[in-house]
Symmetry: C2
Subunit: 140 residues, 2 copies
C-alpha cells in the first residue's frame, strides 16, 4: 500500500503527517521523472495553496527527502532522493538527463558523475552534471 509507505517516509524524516505533504509525496512516488513546482501545483489540483507547495518542497529539500536539479531554462526540477540522503545530507552523485523532445527530466541512477581535477586552489564541494538530448521513449 502506497499510503503506508508515504506515512513511514514522513515519520522517518521527523515530519508531521498532513494532507499536503502526503499528496506531494504521492506525486513523486507515482512519477518516474522529476517534477517542477508548476507540475506539482497543477497535479495537486486546487486542493492546496501555492505557498504550501513552496514550503513543502523547501521542507522536503532540507530533510533530504528530495533533491533539486538545475536546468538551462531557469526552472528547477525536484526528484526523490535515495534512502541515504536523510537529514539534509545529500549523496546524489548521479547524472541528470533532460529530453529535448518530451521535456521530461530523469535521474540516471546508474550513471555516476566522474571526478574532475580542478586547477590549484579550487576545492570541490558538489558536482552537478546535466545532459540534454533525446530520451529512451522518444527514440521510438
Amino acid at each position: 500500500m502506497m499510503e503506508q509507505k508515504i506515512d513511514e517516509l514522513l515519520k522517518k524524516n521527523h515530519l508531521s503527517i498532513t494532507g499536503g505533504r502526503r499528496k506531494i509525496l504521492e506525486l513523486f512516488l507515482q512519477q518516474d521523472g522529476a517534477l517542477s513546482h508548476s507540475d506539482i501545483e497543477r497535479r495537486a489540483g486546487e486542493k492546496f495553496d501555492r505557498v504550501t507547495v513552496y514550503r513543502t518542497l523547501q521542507t522536503f529539500l532540507e530533510k533530504g527527502l528530495i533533491h533539486s536539479i538545475p536546468t538551462s531554462d531557469n526552472s528547477i526540477r525536484y526528484a526523490l532522493c535515495k534512502d541515504d540522503c536523510s537529514g539534509g545530507q545529500h549523496h546524489d552523485d548521479h547524472v541528470h538527463f533532460i529530453c529535448n523532445a518530451c521535456g521530461t527530466t530523469v535521474c540516471l541512477e546508474g550513471v555516476t558523475v566522474p571526478s574532475i581535477a580542478l586547477p590549484d586552489g579550487y576545492v570541490t564541494e558538489q558536482v552537478e552534471m546535466l545532459i540534454s538530448g533525446v530520451c529512451k521513449s522518444c527514440n521510438h
Copy 2:
C-alpha cells in the same frame, strides 16, 4: 583600446553598434567571471531599460557571443564565448565553477567536460557540468 575591440566584436557578429550593446559587452570584457541579468542591470546603471538588457542578452546568445550557465539557485549567469562560437553554434565544453563563499561563477576553460556513456536508447546532445565549492581567491 577596449572601445575598438567592442565595436569589432559587434561588427563581426553582424550586429549594429548601439550604446546598450557597447555597454553590456564592456561589462563582460571588464569582468573575469560570469554575470547574471541583475548584475548587468545594476552595473549598467539607470542608463538602459530592463527590457533592453533582456533583448540584448538574447541577441548575444543567438549570435554566439555569450553562453548561459545554469545554476542551482535558479538564476542564469552569462559569460563571453571563445572566438569559435559565432553564428549561434556553441562549442563550450568547459566546466563551470560557482564559489559558495564569494558567489562568483567562472568558466574553467582549461577543464573539459568528460564524455559519459549513457544507458541504451539515450542520445546526448549537450552536457553541462557545474561544480560548486571554494574558489582560488577565497582559499586565501
